[in-house]
């Protein structure tokens, strides 16, 4: 039973990883940018939710009403001000630009909030759970996070498949220069993709803050989990990202169950390395993102 519980907890944890990863996957799928600042941007949003909650007395969920649109606006502006110019400089430039942004955000958060740990209260949701058996229980917060991940990824998939914006995103991902020749403003499409990516990162960061304590140094580790989920699922594939997140979560919880808690992260990393070694394109081919 404890093994089943480990798998269930892993699946639920995978929802959070998938939520972290979907913005990374979207940006890579549309622009071929690996955003190294993704984890720090998510953490920045977490701190914004914290500040708004503390100063306005709102719940973190209510604070999201302000932070999610704010993150989208920041993403839109970042794309025009920073990522679009860096794209003109070749493949390495966006990588360096986002790395620089990551360092700046990380240090800024340290300067403003100090290395102290913080947490967001989800109210009654934090402690609520369903006991399936004496050994298996499902946390309400984890279930909400998993449900949100499925909704966000499913919503993004529907957007890409059935809307004119989604078709424009896929066309731009295929061939940005030709997209412009059929009337698509590729820079605007990129900016919208980054706006969506940052909004999902803000949502993931907020759930992360509700689930565990956080401090300004955790951005890079969240980036690594997101990156691992994306690579395991397949670069540029949204459903692959969900599966990748779930597999990573299960690997961590089952590894912890088998070898002890200190082996959780290592187990996830081992799965990541195995996928890289034997199926480097990930479990789902990138073309799924374009369906």
């Amino acid at each position: 039973m404890t093994w089943i519980d480990a798998v269930i907890q892993g699946i639920l944890l995978g929802g959070l990883y998938a939520l972290f990863a979907c913005g990374l996957s979207l940006m890579f799928g549309v622009m071929r940018i690996i955003n190294l600042a993704h984890g720090d941007l998510a953490l920045l949003a977490t701190f914004m939710v914290l500040v708004i909650s503390q100063h306005l007395g709102l719940s973190p969920f209510a604070a999201l009403v302000i932070v999610l649109p704010g993150a989208a606006v920041v993403g839109y502006a970042l794309q025009y001000a920073m990522f679009n110019p860096s794209l003109r400089g070749g493949e390495l430039s966006p990588l360096l630009a986002t790395f620089g942004l990551s360092v700046v955000i990380g240090n800024m958060l340290l300067e403003v909030f100090s290395p102290d740990t913080h947490s967001l209260s989800a109210g009654a949701l934090t402690t609520a759970s369903w006991h399936i058996t004496s050994q298996i229980s499902i946390s309400a917060l984890s279930a909400v996070i998993f449900g949100a991940a499925v909704l966000v990824l499913g919503g993004l998939q529907l957007l890409l498949s059935y809307t004119q914006l989604g078709r424009a995103m896929r066309a731009t991902a295929d061939d940005a220069r030709t997209a412009e020749l059929v009337g698509i403003n590729a820079k605007r499409v990129y900016a919208i993709a980054t706006a969506i990516a940052l909004a999902t990162a803000a949502l993931a960061g907020t759930f992360f803050g509700m689930r565990s304590s956080f401090d300004p140094t955790l951005g890079p580790s969240q980036l690594i989990f997101a990156f691992e989920a994306v690579v395991i699922g397949g670069l540029g594939s949204l459903w692959g990202t969900l599966v990748g997140g779930i597999l990573l979560g299960v690997a961590q919880t089952v590894g912890a169950q088998a070898f002890g808690a200190e082996w959780a992260i290592v187990s996830g990393n081992v799965l990541f390395l195995l996928v890289l070694a034997f199926r480097s394109q990930g479990i789902f081919a990138a073309r799924e993102a374009h369906q």
Binding site: R167, R170, A171, T178, E180, L181, G183, I184, N185
Partner: protein, 243 residues
Amino acid sequence: MSLLEVRDLEVRHGLLQAVRGVSFALEEGDTLALVGANGAGKSTLLRAIAGGHRPSRGQIVFGDRDIIRLPAYKRVALGMGLVPEGRHLFPSLTVEENLVVAERPGYWTLDGVLEAFPMLAPRRKSRAAVLSGGERQATAIGRALMTNPRLLLLDEVSLGLAPVAVEDLYRSLRTVIERGATVLLVEQDLGRAMALCQRVACMLEGRLVLEGHSGELTREQVTEAYFGLRRAGIEVGSREGSQ
């Protein structure tokens, strides 16, 4: 007033000057075939007009507006539709999605394009990546039509296609022209180009060396200009000569 007026246009590929002082004009409803040997500068000229290549000098006036600094997507909004050489479809999109992604309000709709290019109807749910050469070209032309252009720019539509596919495509293009399209066609197949378009212009080494009505020019005149054997009867080195 002309729909398109190109004035003294020069385009460079690095050190190579691909287009040298080209001037010509197109009225609404005109069909002009631009012919010339490989490397004559035809495709570069077309891409420069569509916004895919920045000219180093000159003017491109579309309607009443100088569009030389406009990005390509804004030229599409003004009414320019390009069928690029090599088709450049979006491979992960289906035929229908390739068409719909370019859709702008106007005469041409998805149904209209599928009617004009009957070969596409049974393939509308197929990915562009799996199409035959003729189907790809038809999709590329259909995609440009879906932008409802005032001016349709066609680059080497018959290149690399089987004769049967070319025949089908040109039949559909005749339908498009009969519906009033203004067309600038780059084509290496002299016979087809002269049969389809009212006017023919020939480029040689980046320059426009001959222009006239298809019915008035002989095939020999165009061929000689094409290969640069002699500067043929109706020279068009200057803007005045092209109008």
